[in-house]
Symmetry: C2
Subunit: 334 residues, 2 copies
C-alpha cells in the first residue's frame, strides 16, 4: 500500500512536471509571395521542402540537447542562408547597382537583448553577425561598412562579395531592370514585378527547454532595391521581435508595410494587452490590418506554451515547424 502510494505520488509528480516543463518548439519561414503550384517544378519544390526540413531538424537538435532558443534560431537560419534557394545569405537578390546587400536581426525573449545588421556585403552569415552585435556591442543596430568592420573584428566568416552571385538572382535583376525600362517607356502600362523572385526573407522563432523565446530574420532585401533601402527584417519591432512576456515573431513580405504597422510588436501587443491567442493576434494584423492596404506577406508567431501560428495573406509562404518528436512539417501553399 505504501509502495503504491509512492508510485502514485511519483506519477503525479511526473505529470505535473511534464505539464510545467515547456515544450520545445521551432517554427520557420522561408519567405512569402506569389508562390503557387503552377509556378513551381516538382524538382524545385522538393529542394525547398528538403532544405526547410534540414533547417528545422538542425534547430530542433540544438533544442533537444538543451541549447538555447537563440542557438536554435541562429543554427536553423544559417542553413537557409547557406542555401542558394532562399533570399538570404548565399541566395540574396541583387540591388539596382548589381550588389548583394544583406540585412538580419535576432532577439532574445528572456533579456530583450537584440542585435541587427543592415546593408552588409561581405559577411557570409548575417544572422551570426546580428548575434555578435547583440552579445558583444553596446549598439543594437549597425549598418554598412561599420557593421562589416565589427564582424571582421569579431572573427566572423568574411567572404568576397562574389560569393553571393547566383545566376538565378542575376537574371532576376536583369528582368527587373528590363521591366523598369518598359515602365518608363509606357508609364500607363501595367508591368508587374515578379513577386517571388523580387523579394523573400527567412526567419525562425524558437522556444527552448528553459522556457525562453527567441526570434531571428535574415534577408537579401528586394531585387533592384535602391538608395540604401532598409526593409523590416533588421528592424526590431517591425520584422523581428521576441519577449518572454508575450511572443516571438519573424515576418516576411513587403517590408515597408511591416515597418509602418510595426507588425512584429503589434502582434506581441495584441497578445499581451488584448489577451488574443497567437492565431487571433496574427490574423488581426496580417489579414485585418495589412491585407486591406495591400501589405502582402506573413509572419510566424510562437508563445511560451508552444502555441504557434503562421498567418500569411499572399499566395504562399515557405514555412514549417518541428516539435520534440523531431518530425519536420513543411508547407508551401495555402
Amino acid at each position: 500500500m505504501k509502495r503504491i502510494a509512492i508510485v502514485v505520488a511519483s506519477l503525479i509528480a511526473i505529470t505535473v512536471n511534464a505539464q510545467e516543463k515547456p515544450h520545445i518548439m521551432l517554427v520557420m519561414h522561408g519567405g512569402a509571395g506569389t508562390i503557387t503550384r503552377g509556378s513551381m517544378t516538382a524538382e524545385m519544390e522538393t529542394q525547398y521542402r528538403d532544405t526547410l526540413a534540414q533547417a528545422l531538424k538542425t534547430g530542433q537538435a540544438v533544442l533537444m540537447k538543451g541549447g538555447s532558443s537563440i542557438d536554435a534560431v541562429e543554427a536553423s537560419i544559417r542553413i537557409l542562408e547557406d542555401s542558394p534557394l532562399f533570399n538570404a545569405g548565399k541566395g540574396a537578390v541583387f540591388t539596382h547597382e548589381g550588389k548583394n546587400e544583406l540585412d538580419s536581426a535576432i532577439m532574445d525573449g528572456k533579456t530583450k537583448k537584440a542585435g541587427a545588421v543592415a546593408g552588409v556585403t561581405i559577411i557570409r552569415n548575417p544572422i551570426t553577425a546580428a548575434r555578435a552585435v547583440m552579445e558583444k556591442s553596446p549598439p543594437v543596430m549597425m549598418t554598412g561598412r561599420g557593421a562589416e568592420l565589427f564582424a571582421t573584428k569579431m572573427g566572423l566568416e568574411i567572404v568576397d562579395p562574389s560569393y553571393f552571385w547566383t545566376e538565378r538572382r542575376w537574371k532576376g535583376l536583369q528582368q527587373e531592370l528590363l521591366k523598369e525600362q518598359q515602365r518608363q517607356a509606357n508609364p500607363h502600362a501595367s508591368i508587374k514585378s515578379d513577386d517571388e523572385t523580387r523579394h523573400g526573407t527567412v526567419g525562425a522563432v524558437a522556444l527552448d527547454a528553459a522556457g525562453n523565446l527567441a526570434a531571428g530574420t535574415s534577408t537579401g532585401g528586394t531585387t533592384n532595391k535602391q538608395y540604401g533601402r532598409i526593409g523590416d527584417s533588421p528592424i526590431i519591432g517591425a520584422g523581428t521581435y521576441a519577449d518572454n512576456e508575450s511572443v516571438a515573431v519573424s515576418c516576411t513580405g513587403t517590408g515597408e508595410f511591416f515597418i509602418r504597422w510595426t507588425v512584429a510588436h503589434d502582434i506581441a501587443a495584441l497578445y499581451l494587452y488584448k489577451g488574443m491567442t497567437v492565431e487571433q493576434a496574427g490574423n488581426e494584423v496580417i489579414h485585418k490590418k495589412l491585407e486591406p492596404v495591400g501589405g502582402d506577406g506573413g509572419a510566424i508567431i510562437l508563445d511560451r506554451k508552444g502555441n504557434f501560428a503562421m498567418p500569411f495573406n499572399s499566395e504562399g509562404m515557405y514555412r514549417g515547424w518541428i516539435g520534440p518528436d523531431g518530425v519536420p512539417h513543411v508547407e508551401i501553399y495555402k
Copy 2:
C-alpha cells in the same frame, strides 16, 4: 426677444463648434540627459529656451494657417536642426572617426506613411530628407550614400560635411576619446561619459486643425559612436511613431533601450489596447519599464484630443508645448 434667441443660439453653436473642432497643438523635445541647473549657465539656458520657443512658434504658425501636422513637425524641427545647440543637424555630435552622421524619421498619423534616413553626412536638414523619403519613394528607410543620392536627386539642400563641425562637439569627442583611453588603461575605474554632451535628439509631435497627428525625430547620434551604429530615432515604432487611431510619439534617450522596448509603438499600444491616457501610457513605459533596466530618456506623446504628456526619467529634458493661443511653454529641469 428674437434677437436674444439668435445670440444664444449663436453662442451655443460656437461652444459646440469649439468642442468639436480639434485643438491644434505642438509639443517638442530637444533631448534628455544629465541636464541640471548646476551644469547650465544663465546664458546657455536663455539660448536653449529662446531657440525652443522659436521652434514652437514656427510650428504653431504653420498650424494656425491651416497647415498640416507634417508641415508643422518639419518646420519646427528644422529650427532645432539649424541651431548649434541641439544634437541634430548643425549641432550634431561626432562619431569615433570624427564624422557627423545624422538620422531622422517622420510619420503621418492619417496615412501611416513614414520616411527615415540614417547615417547621412551631407544633408543640411535630415527631417526634410525623411519627409522626401516618405512622400516620394517606395522605401520607408534609406541609409548612407544611397539616402544622400536620393536627397540630392530630390533637390534638397546639400552641404559640405564641414558644415556640421562645431568646436563644442569636437571637444566633446576629444573628451570621450580620452576617457576611452583611460578606461582601457584602468579597466576597473569608473570613468563615466558626460551624458549631456554625449547624446541628444530633437523631436516634435503635432495635431493640426483637421485632426491629424504627426511625429518627427532628428539626431546626430551619440558622441564617439562606432560601426555605423543606428539608434532609435530613425526607427519607426522605436523613436518615432504616429497613428490617428492612437497617438504621435517622439523619443529621446539611450537609443538601444528604446529599440529593444519598441518604445514609441508600445506607448501607442497601451493607449489603444489598454485604454490608458497619454500620461499613463508614457509613465508605464518610461518609468515602469525603462527606468528599472537603466534605459534613460523620455518621450513626448500627443493624442487627437490635444492631450499630451512629456515623461522622462533623466535629470532633465528640453521640452515645450504651444497651443492655439500662441504662448510657448518651455521647460528644462524636473
